[in-house]
């Protein structure tokens, strides 16, 4: 079962670019509105100035939220996918031990799975996909940069 595909990276890149395009459009609207209020303001300009201050604060708050949360989140997901898909694959057999609380890895929150691989415990991150694993069952894992990319049922015959 493939958990991370090439298309995911393209999707993440598109999502990142779309967010940026929306931000640029909103920034242009803000600049246009602010300049319009400035140039249309009469001699008694106070209400226009207060209006401009309010839209500037709103845009400023959105910018902080955008760059520190929204866009940052999309960018980190894209970078992680690029890293994962570009990393060397490791194929291992592992016995599923259990699942810990989700952890933030490379800025992206992921499920944390524990496997016993070659007699020692190994933590593997699951980026996406509804995966239900049975404790004590052996699986064939394909791991890229610590992230589970593909999982399959164990075929002991093929292994031996």
């Amino acid at each position: 079962m493939i958990l991370v595909r090439e298309e995911e990276r393209d999707k993440a890149e598109k999502a990142k670019n779309r967010l940026l395009a929306v931000y640029i459009a909103i920034a242009c609207l803000f600049v246009a509105a602010a300049l319009l209020l400035l140039f249309l303001s009469p001699d008694d300009y106070r209400p226009y100035m207060i209006g401009t201050i309010f839209i500037t604060i709103a845009f400023g708050f959105y910018s902080v939220f955008f760059f520190s949360v929204q866009f940052d989140c999309a960018l980190k997901r894209y970078r992680l996918l690029e890293k994962v898909l570009g990393a060397l694959p490791e194929k291992e057999y592992g016995v599923f031990l259990g699942e810990d609380d989700p952890l933030t890895y490379e800025g992206v929150e992921m499920r944390t799975l524990r496997f016993e691989v070659l007699g020692s415990e190994r933590v593997v991150h699951l980026l996406q996909g509804e995966l239900s694993l049975q404790s004590g069952t052996k699986y064939l894992l394909e791991i890229h940069a610590g992230v589970l990319v593909e999982i399959g049922e164990c075929n002991e015959k093929a292994f031996s």
Binding site: L38, D43, T52, T56, G60, Q70
Partner: protein, 181 residues
């Protein structure tokens, strides 16, 4: 997303605060700059005496169309040399309209300093030309709410070198008309 936003608040609150302060300071400055009165939209009135109420500046600015700001500068005639200095530097060169007692007006070389006024109020004539106009008693009484008139007669002039005395606008003459009532 909401969780990430809430998580970012403790570290990002300073940014939000800076945005509020910068927005207010920036736009107050920009609007102030954009609406700052041009040279032709402000008038400087020189008064030889004491000003009782500076609200005259607002009243006068409203009285003349196209003028956004009127400022008063004063010098007391009893200052002697200091008055002469300020009168020649501020009143005769940098001001637009001058209000001085008749005694000072007589000692001024009006030809060099003031624009000609014709048909305005009771004329103040020097060398056969009307340069100023006397403030009438009624008008003096009305304006005494703003100015302390300590002399019998006061004369109003338009400074010749001012942009507003016919070079670019005639705001000085309009203000004088309003002053004369």
């Amino acid at each position: 997303m909401k969780k990430r936003f809430l998580d970012s608040l403790p570290s990002d609150w300073v940014k939000y605060l800076i945005i509020v302060i910068v927005s207010v300071v920036l736009w107050v400055w920009v609007f102030g700059l954009y609406h700052a009165p041009k040279e032709t939209e402000k008038l400087e009135v020189f008064f030889a005496g004491e000003v009782k109420d500076h609200s005259f500046e607002d009243v006068a600015a409203k009285a003349v169309d196209g003028v956004k700001k009127v400022t008063l500068s004063v010098a007391y005639p009893w200052w002697g040399n200091a008055f002469d200095e300020k009168y020649s530097v501020v009143a005769l060169t940098a001001s637009d309209v001058v209000i001085v007692p008749k005694e000072i007006a007589k000692d001024t070389d009006c030809k060099r300093a003031f624009a000609e006024l014709s048909g305005m109020g009771e004329p103040f004539v020097q060398e056969g030309v009307q340069y100023g106009a006397y403030l009438s008693k009624e008008r003096k009484e009305e304006l005494s709410a703003y100015f302390k008139f300590e002399y019998e007669n006061y004369v109003v002039f338009a400074v010749a070198s001012s942009l507003n005395s016919g070079q670019a606008t005639d705001h000085s003459f309009k203000l004088i008309e309003w002053l004369l009532g």
